[in-house]
């Protein structure tokens, strides 16, 4: 009996050792990386060697993986390695963005204020959703005016120059009006911290990646495929289709306080806009949103605002001027001009010292434009690379009063027939 037991025990030991050796032989050979910025070895490439570099500004050899994503850098087991990742697949989610993307050499607290994207983005109305909340609460009598008081999360900006220095957290449970409560339950899927609605047309990430990691191709037929594939990309070449994941998918119905998704299947971009009665100029459907709208309009300028119109200021005259004034321009004489930095991130144009570009009324560089010697202008589409030429209004047959810049005025003559 004892000999049977000995044989069984030794067989079990052999089997265990064999399984262990087999498991060991199947494990991939560890691939080490010591990023310049951390100086600490990490083994993420053991499994992720084929992953595309996320952007030219975040080279793998410099940043590695762990600096942005977190995780257990020495682990070779996938579950253990991923167990402490920040934000799951999205380290730019606003709940963890400071740890992932922040820091004085990265995107918060830098000496170059234009790089402090985190402070600006997390206080922008795209993040706070303060405008929508204020509008609904005012509409249903929960507050006396349209001034924002509440945001998706509480936030303070003591130095805000907009007149709003703090927002308290919007809590639908504390609201007494049933419509405001319903708004809280049904209508909070569009701010940058929200999980999107189901469906490939709504799919996007949260935080910075909502815009800078495009999930939607300009080719609509690829949307499903792109969603199902891993996306490892950060870009400033943002197609209008990415903006559309929030801004062109339907409307909120104030009668039912529900989001009503569009039901049509647009055949082309001109008919892709959901508002059937809206009019658009050529610029509005041939260009991408980011070709005109600036970084501070989209990401905020660090102040708290109540509504979109408080931060969005680009008008037709920004590029075209008026009957009496040419648009603002700037000749690039400073090698540290922000235009060069922005052009580097999306190298579609070869800006040089001495080039003259258009700038906005707030002196933001429209780095993808160029003032040509003949007085006309050139714009290169940031997402498409398409080249557009255009002229100033001054000297043209236009008779529009320069102060009338709302869309209805320009659309009177320049609306595209659709």
């Amino acid at each position: 009996m004892r000999r049977y037991f000995l044989l069984a025990a030794s067989s079990a030991l052999l089997l265990a050792l064999f399984i262990s050796a087999l498991d060991e032989s199947r494990r991939p050979k560890p691939v080490a990386l010591i990023p310049t910025l951390t100086g600490q070895v990490e083994y993420c490439l053991t499994c992720h060697l084929d992953l595309a570099q996320i952007s030219k500004s975040h080279p793998l050899q410099t940043f590695g993986c762990v600096l942005c994503h977190g995780g257990e850098r020495l682990a070779l087991d996938a579950n253990l390695a991923h167990s402490t990742m920040r934000g799951g697949k999205n380290p730019s989610d606003f709940s963890v963005v400071q740890a992932s993307c922040g820091g004085a050499t990265c995107h918060s607290g830098t000496p170059e204020s234009f790089s402090n994207h985190i402070q600006r983005a997390t206080t922008s109305i795209q993040a706070t959703y303060a405008g929508a909340i204020a509008n609904i609460r005012y509409t249903f009598g929960a507050q006396p005016d349209l001034k924002a008081r509440l945001g998706i999360f509480a936030v303070q900006v003591p130095g805000s120059t907009s007149g709003i220095t703090a927002l308290a957290s919007f809590d639908p449970a504390r609201e007494t009006n049933p419509y405001v409560k319903a708004f809280g339950q049904n209508c909070l899927t569009c701010h940058l911290s929200a999980q999107p609605l189901p469906g490939s047309e709504y799919f996007r990430f949260t935080g910075c990646a909502a815009c800078h990691t495009p999930t939607q191709s300009a080719d609509r037929s690829n949307a499903q495929q792109i969603q199902s594939n891993p996306i490892h990309k950060l870009t400033t070449a943002i197609s209008y289709t990415q903006c559309d994941t929030c801004h062109n998918r339907g409307n909120y119905d104030l009668r039912t306080i529900k989001f009503e998704p569009r039901q049509d299947l647009p055949a082309d971009r001109l008919h892709d806009y959901y508002q059937p009665i809206a009019q658009f100029t050529s610029c509005e459907w041939k260009l991408d949103c980011v070709d005109c709208h600036t970084r501070t309009e989209a990401m905020g300028d660090g102040n708290l605002y109540s509504v979109k119109k408080d931060i969005q200021y680009i008008q037709c005259k920004t590029c075209h001027g008026t009957l009496t004034e040419l648009p603002h321009i700037r000749t690039l004489t400073d090698p540290n001009d922000l235009a060069f930095r922005l052009a580097l991130l999306n190298p579609l144009v070869d800006l040089k010292l001495g080039d003259t570009i258009l700038v906005t009324e707030k002196d933001e560089p429209l780095w993808n434009t160029l003032v040509l010697p003949d007085g006309t202008y050139r714009l290169v589409g940031k997402a498409t690379g398409q080249v557009f030429s255009f002229k100033p209004v001054l000297g043209s047959a236009c008779t529009q009063n320069g102060i009338d810049q709302s869309s209805a005025y320009c659309h009177t003559c320049h609306a595209v027939n659709r």
Partner: protein
């Protein structure tokens, strides 16, 4: 042919299994003891005979990364690691350019455009008694 008894068979089988287990275990132990830690990045680069780098030459050393210069003053080297975030800068006719965030440096490594705030680092070189040129990054 003699028949093996059940007792002997069990003894033999147990011995064989234990021997195999021991061998597998020893193999694992040797592999564990033989594990090499990842070497630290080198700080001393043997560049071969100094004569390989004639006066006036500019040699890109991509594995350092650095640019080796042989001027009338002798050998010198500039690190190609950007002082902003550590990307490798590219050598251009007018100096150096960082492809990551756009910093620019002149031919001496001085900053001409941010975001880098410090010049590229000058690296030490030396020639050994056997005529080999060495570059030191520490």
């Amino acid at each position: 042919m003699s028949e093996i008894s059940r007792r002997d068979f069990l003894k033999l089988a147990s011995a064989a299994v234990l021997t195999l287990s021991g061998l597998l275990g020893l193999d694992g132990l040797f592999r564990f003891l033989d594990t090499q830690t990842d070497p630290l990045p080198p700080t001393d680069f043997d560049l071969g005979p100094a004569g390989n780098y004639p006066p006036g030459s500019r040699t890109l050393l991509s594995d350092v990364p650095a640019l080796l210069l042989h001027t009338q003053a002798g050998f010198s080297a500039i690190s190609l690691v950007c002082t902003h975030l550590g990307c490798t800068v590219e050598s251009k006719p007018e100096g150096f350019a960082c492809p990551c965030h756009g910093s620019r440096f002149d031919l001496q490594g001085n900053v001409t455009r941010g975001p880098a705030g410090k010049p590229l680092i000058s690296l030490r070189t030396g020639i050994t008694s056997d005529g080999k040129l060495h570059l030191y990054t520490n």
